[in-house]
């Protein structure tokens, strides 16, 4: 039944009806009525961030660690434009976020009013959909639709722009309805003929490979369970993208590690040499494929994706399957089990033997040191000392991110939050805050770099205000390490502006915010220091001083194929300098 209330109250009522417990935001002139309504209720808890960009990343961390929709509330103009990077990040990584923006009153729109910007125009290409509310009676319906669009199909961010006069106006509130959306109806159940074709290909495969992506995690915990079931039932090897880590347990013997530019030797070679590949909720990103015309050249490709535009976008596939990962895997399992398949056991034995030979290369090995903490060692020890606590890990972007992906091992989905598609430095701390908000009792660690952490350092203040005991583990090499690595590879070792000459004293910085600050530079003291960090009650910045010039290997240089990887152990300076061809240099 329709109830009458103000626009601001409609916003709160809609959030309550959508089951929202936490929102992340920052007040301002054009959104004050909604903040006033927030003040007068207790159901929805508001987390005050220190910059709107932090609010969106926090909502992303919240969403990715729970599977729920993350909600953001910001003001007009700069509030909305500060949110743009986060929205783009959420679009790239398919994270469900509803961002409610204040807007100048309707009669001032287009007048270049104070703190006015064309929010729907600016956010159109960086959201799944957006709305400008012009009638208070549309507000409730649009908000419910916004939640539906954000989480249905391939998830993504949406923006609802609410002018201030609409927030004050009185209108009818309607609750969420179960009426089907008139246009947006993503296909969940796959076409059965395609699924059967896929199962037949898998049964007859000699060198099969599963390739899982973030879509498995987005599909929900059931998808990860079904993936485990089908991988174990078939006995086939599995690799995953950066976004897919945790969908399949890293401790399993069928797990080959991450693939792609900084993936393992065995995962990339298996991808290159396989004869049947099943891409499950992955999108053949350029970081995965390397040189596209030499990507997995001999394989028949099955691609499961809920977004038809992902299929045949970068790589042409043989069996496209449009559908939800969980629905599709369920059908594949059922069909497989109904067949009592005769597998080519001999061929699979040869395949696994080959994989074991690649594994024997130990592509993640590195030369450890007694004098200085190697960054790989730092992440390894962090993993070993925290793995029994089921931690949630976020990262910033750069070398530390890749080391975290390589050396931290994930057993469960929704534990790993990183900016994969957009590569947003500054993502990790606010994302950790969001994840901690959702899991107050859990250990949440932002594995950070010394450059990235400064991009959203102000959110340290948010953690204090809301008593969020996040740990920031800075792999500090005093460089923008990944930029420097590329300058070594591409630009004759001319390290143009990739060295931060005046890093802050992170211990003092921590203390200034009311955090605990720690510093460690001796490998022998690392374990004790990490234990101390874990045992510290409140938030901690751990300044882990690592070898400054370590680089991230293995690596597929841009423009190269999977079988042209550089391994860390045997790479010479000359090889590094000549690793990338002229054509490769223009690639990102």
């Amino acid at each position: 039944m329709a109830r009458t209330m103000s626009g601001a109250e409609i916003v709160i009522a809609a959030l309550c009806d959508q089951g929202v417990e936490h929102i992340f935001g920052y007040p301002g002139g054009a959104v004050l009525p909604i903040y006033d309504a927030l003040f007068q209720q207790e159901k929805v808890k508001h987390v005050l961030v220190r910059q709107e960009g932090g609010a969106v990343h926090a909502a992303e961390g919240y969403a990715r660690s729970t599977g729920k929709v993350g909600v953001v509330l910001v003001t007009s103009g700069p509030g909305a434009t500060n949110a743009v990077t986060g929205l783009t990040d959420a679009l790239s990584d398919s994270v469900p976020v509803v961002c409610i923006c204040g807007q100048v009153p309707t009669h001032l729109i287009g007048n270049d009013a104070f703190q006015e910007c064309d929010t729907v125009g600016i956010t159109r290409p960086c959201t799944k959909h957006n709305w400008l509310i012009k009638d208070v009676n549309d507000l409730a319906r649009v908000l419910h639709e916004a939640f539906y669009i954000a989480k249905a199909g391939r998830p993504g961010p949406v923006v609802v722009d609410v002018p201030k006069d609409i927030q004050f106006a009185t209108g009818n509130y309607v609750g969420p309805s179960n009426i089907a959306h008139k246009t947006y109806k993503p296909r969940m159940k796959p076409e059965q003929t395609a699924v059967r074709e896929a199962v037949d290909l898998l049964i007859n495969a000699k060198r099969p490979l599963f390739y899982a992506g973030g879509g498995v995690i987005n599909s929900g915990p059931k998808a990860s369970q079904l993936l485990r079931e089908i991988v174990r039932l078939t006995g086939y090897p599995i690799t995953s993208t950066l976004m897919g880590l945790g969908a399949f347990p890293a401790s399993d013997k069928q797990w080959l590690g991450m693939l792609g530019m900084h993936g393992t030797y065995e995962a990339n070679w298996a991808m290159h040499d396989c004869d049947v590949m099943v891409a499950v909720g992955a999108r053949f990103d350029d970081r995965i494929t390397g040189r596209i015309d030499a990507f997995s050249p001999g394989s028949q490709k099955i691609h499961i994706d809920i977004d038809p535009s992902s299929i045949n976008k970068n790589v042409l596939v043989d069996v496209p399957i449009v559908g939800d990962v969980a629905c599709t895997l369920e059908d594949m399992l059922r069909i497989w089990k109904s067949k009592t398949p005769q597998l080519d056991k001999a061929a699979h034995k040869v395949w696994w033997k080959q994989i074991d030979q690649w594994r024997a290369k130990k592509s993640l090995s590195y030369k450890n040191s007694r004098d200085v903490i190697m960054p790989q060692y730092a992440v390894e020890r962090l993993y070993e000392l925290t793995k029994d606590r089921d931690p949630y890990i976020t990262t910033e972007v750069g070398q530390h991110q890749m080391w975290a992906a390589q050396y931290f091992r994930f057993e469960e989905p929704n534990r790993w939050m990183t900016s994969g598609g957009l590569g947003t430095m500054g993502y990790g701390l606010p994302a950790a805050i969001g994840a901690q908000m959702a899991h107050p009792k859990s250990l949440v660690i932002d594995i950070a770099g010394d450059a990235s952490i400064l991009m959203n350092m102000q959110e340290a203040s948010t953690a204090v205000q809301f008593e969020l005991p996040v740990k920031v583990f800075i792999v500090n090499n005093q460089y923008m390490g990944m930029v420097r690595q590329w300058q070594q590879l591409l630009h004759g070792n001319r390290l143009s502006h990739s060295y931060t000459e005046s890093l802050p004293d992170f211990v003092k910085l921590a203390e200034a915010y009311g955090w605990t600050g720690m510093k460690c530079e001796n490998p022998a003291e690392l374990d004790d220091a990490i234990r101390e960090m874990i045992d510290t009650k409140g938030p901690v910045i751990f300044d882990c001083r690592v070898a400054t010039l370590a680089n991230c290997f293995p690596m597929i240089p841009s423009g190269k194929a999977h079988n042209e990887m550089l391994l860390g152990g045997d790479v010479t300076e000359e090889e590094v300098e000549h690793a990338i061809s002229e054509e490769g240099k223009v690639l990102v």
């Binding site: 246009t183 993503p186 596209i292 050249p297 977004d307 038809p308 045949n312 042409l316 043989d318 496209p320």
Partner: protein, 186 residues
């Protein structure tokens, strides 16, 4: 959404998407909710992803249901065209996308207004040719004509080319409106 993918894709993957494929012209008919910003979404998709628009026509076609039909003539390899269709279908206000060229036997028409300025022989010649092309005069003085011509793009192109020699000073064109033949709607 319909599971429509090009079935004729080569089984070898040494050919990158787009490479060695012929560029084709396609007419897409996109039925959308006529809501604010819907056109910006469609054209933003084309410019943002580097697709071509050769012609674009849009107006509300079903007033009670607030539906608009956007007719887009685009160019690209078959793989790119397939991407364009799937990207368009992903937009929330889009009801459906039809590839009229691929579905075959579609009707395409364009309207042009063409202004000819001058006196004497050329003026008479312009009028005579306009009759042959079934263009009608909708404005005239002793020094000018404005012709209205309807037809396929090729006919209009041809008419404009001829008129260029006969004092053409200005052209306004609607872009293509297209519809499928036969009794059924799409």
């Amino acid at each position: 959404m319909v599971n429509t993918f090009t079935k004729s894709v080569p089984k070898s993957h040494y050919v990158g998407p787009g490479a060695a494929q012929e560029v084709v012209s396609r007419t897409l008919s996109v039925l959308v909710d006529n809501e604010p910003g819907v056109l910006a979404r469609v054209i933003g998709l084309f410019s943002g992803r580097g697709y071509n628009i050769d012609s674009l026509t849009v107006t509300e076609t079903e007033h009670e249901m607030h539906l608009s039909r956007i007719t887009i003539v685009t160019r690209g390899t078959p793989n790119v065209i397939e991407q364009i269709k799937h990207q368009l279908e992903r937009l929330v206000p889009v009801h459906h996308v039809h590839d009229l060229t691929l579905e075959g036997r579609s009707l395409e028409r364009e309207l042009a207004l063409i202004k000819i300025s001058g006196r004497g022989e050329k003026r008479i010649e312009a009028l005579r040719l306009a009759e042959i092309f079934r263009a009608s005069v909708i404005d005239a003085s002793t020094e000018h004509f404005v012709f209205e011509i309807t037809g396929r793009t090729s006919k209009i192109e041809q008419f404009i080319q001829i008129m260029t020699e006969l004092g053409l000073v200005e052209v306004a064109r609607t872009g293509i409106a297209a519809i499928g033949r036969g009794p059924s709607s799409q």
